[in-house]
Amino acid sequence: MRTPIEAPITSTLSRRGFVRAGGALFVSLALPAQQAQAPAGNSVDPTQLPSWLEIRADNTILARTGRTETGTGMSAFYAQTLAEELNVRPESITLILGDTDRTPDGGYSAGFLTGALNLRKVGAYTYQALLTLASAQLVVPVTELTVTNGLVSGGGKQVSYGQLVQGQQLDLKIPISGTPARVDATAGNGLSGLDGYVVTGDPPMKPISQYRIVGQSYPMPGIPAKVTGRTKWSCDVKLPGMLHARMIRPATLGSTLISLGTLDKQRFPTAQVLRKNNLVAVVSPDEWEAISAARAVANTTKWTAWAGLPGSDNLTATLRAVNWGAPCETHGNAGTVATALAGAARTISASYEQPYVRHAPMGPYVAVADVKPDGAVTVWTHSSHSQGLRAQLAHALSVPVDKVVVRWLDQAGQYGRTTFGGDGAEADAVILSQLTGKPVRVQWTLQEDLAWSTVSPGWVADIKAGLDANGRIVAMQNDSYMPKQMDARLLGAILAGLPCSTSKPSNFLALEWVYDRIPAVCQRGFGMTNLAAETPAGGLRGNIMRTPGQRQQNFVLEGLINEAAASAGADPIQYRLDHTTDQRLIDVLKATAKAADWEPRPSPGPGARKSGPGTLTGRGVNIMRRSNAYWVGIAEIAVTPETGAVQVSKFTIGLECGKIINPRQLDRCMKSGLIMGLSETLKEEVTFDKERVTSTDWSTYRILTMAEMPEIRTVQISRDDQGFGTGGEAANGICAPAVAAAFFDATGVHPRRIPLTPAYVMRLLKT
């Protein structure tokens, strides 16, 4: 048993107070068992408590949210935070996630901050209602009640939540605002209502200092089923009469269909070729027949020729030649900074760049769709934004959203590419189900996913800093140039010529500024459309990817801070401390430096050299603030000049993210996010020639292997006075600058491009 709450939560909110706060409390004991309302139109009424929570007679709780689990642990965090507000055990809570016909709120799954507040508030409203019920039943004032593990005590009497509601309905009105996701041409990413319905009002929530469940390493609820093979993944959906499909994609990024290939009915008796405009597929009741027949048909399918891509080797030159026009977003005043730079004792400047990279999950896209003769659509998906997907599909099919039901299941992590409800195999599946009148399962191949899914665009950036006579930064101009990362269109809808969401050629500024002692700063983001946007397939469709914008812009900013520290002859940690007054950053930076046994000195190190035998070592640091969290990364690396090999030998990662919800899972997320960031830093590049993407398997799109993993130390700081920050996602944003700084420390050469492949390192060291 968990220690009972010492300081019981008591309501200070009167019935009138509830009304003032925007809610209304009705305790109706007249209706039978609680059930989620299922109003017409396949939607759940978010104003009704039973849509969110069912308290059952056995004192267990069923909670529903449109958010999903993407692998970082949200399902545990929701259970923990809801349990905290209700004073129940998290084990007593079961979650339904992401199903559009069974969950009330919708919303995207970009993190805990927006995802959990709805459930926390619903929990807080419910808690007050339950106290009121218990007060009436026990004839004890609410102020004299205490609750432990769902058992209400007062006046020497006890009643459980389950007993309180048995055979009755807790009829509580939940105040909400917002709208469901819908395709909206005025939105930058083509979708409004990203947050879905938001629970409003100000119910009394438990103070963080009184938390007993949040802050504990409650185990991830889904793991035992995943480990024993009981999980039903979205790739496992099987329906009666279901057909397996494999897609035949255009020969190039700009091709259109000339003629369908032939299907040998002798070899593939139950297979069928399907087509809608440039969307081509083979279906069969037998998966292996679908695969084999699709390969054969693809070989004889004819497409128009096209060669309009610049080639990845020419990416930087291509981006440099773009007329970027006015910035999409500006922070600060470029004129003020120009004046300050002109008055500085000296300036340093640098240009940074990175090629295209991609999400590259271990499981390629998969989806199952069942379109009924009356037009009703059901789709089984792993999209991280079910309501967004529902809106995208309804838009493509030109039907009301009520015609579409999206059911969510576990699948490979998506790392942001489904955040706007797009990308994915769902449109393929829906179109093929419409064409055949049968349920269709579409499994993309790895080669298809690595060639045709959305990408995180390549970019270039220019940064310039003015230093005073003491080497302190007095002004900074930071300009980022990048194709848009907001294209959420579903490939199937594009190729079939169906209506799609739109997106603007934006480039958003993602850095959260911590260097408040730099007096003059201007940041500008310049955007453009997709490369080859004019083609029927929409070109290289840019999309957000884990820690979007910020991980790229942090490489530039922190790269230059390291260059400036070296230029000033300063220790790079002390140099950062000299440019900020943010005590939260200072605390975690010092704690992480201590854990890494950091010895203050300037870079490069005393033994730095660019050539010669053997292996050189170096160390480097970087920091980042993101969504109320402060990150520090310290890399120790080994460079072999003769081969260009870079091995990260040790990495110390520090995080202060307000109240830590689950220390063990946070440790796992810090380490795993770091692996993804190091993978991007050392290895990843989407390559393409003039016609198509060429990095289409794991030997050509290389990611970090286990042997390349460094020794990792983590430092966690939890605070009760700063609310919640995001800890699950952003570790990948503090890798590249630290590794680049360590490379400089070892060699005396600043890398201003990632990935640090052996070929690039050899070139770099020869210059």
Binding site: G71, T228, R668, M709
Partner: protein, 175 residues
């Protein structure tokens, strides 16, 4: 042309009719409803589809079903029975120590690759019951035909779990 094929799958004899060149992965998933092994790459480059054939890891996405005719196949669904078979005192329902370690070390994030990771761990521990962390990293990276890949980045947790499973298994054998 469909052919009759017979194997022992997770301890039980199973017979199916399929073209012998059908990859074992599709036979397991679609004919035998064993969804532990998953489609990752289809070209033996990632490990998500790994199963044990006569105790050794193979990539089921490139293994023709006809080539394993008459052999013993184990998926993660069969790991508890595999462990119990070698442990006369083991109780029914006990998970394989590798599975238990995967739970105890909280390894899976999305979890898509982890079936193959556990198969690789069982194979490794059958050859090297007491590996070092470096040997675990080496085995998961350099054993043909390819590294076992995880995009969530759970490698550190996997190393922890393999070392934990090795300790549990050696204790079990000693007992």
């Amino acid at each position: 042309m469909a052919t009759k094929l017979a194997f022992t799958v997770n301890g039980a004899p199973r017979a199916i009719a399929a073209p012998p060149q059908t990859p074992l992965l599709y036979v397991l998933r679609n004919e035998l409803n064993l969804t532990g092994p998953r489609f990752g790459c289809g070209v033996a480059q990632c490990g998500a589809c790994a199963v044990l054939v006569d105790g050794h890891e193979v990539r089921s996405c490139v293994t023709p079903a006809g080539s394993v005719n008459g052999k013993h196949i184990t998926t993660i669904e069969g790991l508890p029975a595999l462990w119990a078979a070698g442990q006369p005192s083991a109780q029914t329902g006990t998970l394989h120590p590798v599975q238990q370690a995967w739970i105890d070390e909280q390894v899976p994030q999305c979890g898509y690759c982890q079936s193959g990771m556990m198969i690789a761990a069982v194979d490794l521990l059958s050859k090297n019951p007491n590996p070092t962390a470096a040997q675990v990293k080496d085995a998961f990276t350099n054993t043909p035909p390819s590294p076992h890949l995880c995009r969530c980045g759970t490698y550190a947790a996997i190393v922890d779990a393999v070392l934990l499973a090795a300790r549990t298994m050696s204790t079990g054998k000693a007992g």
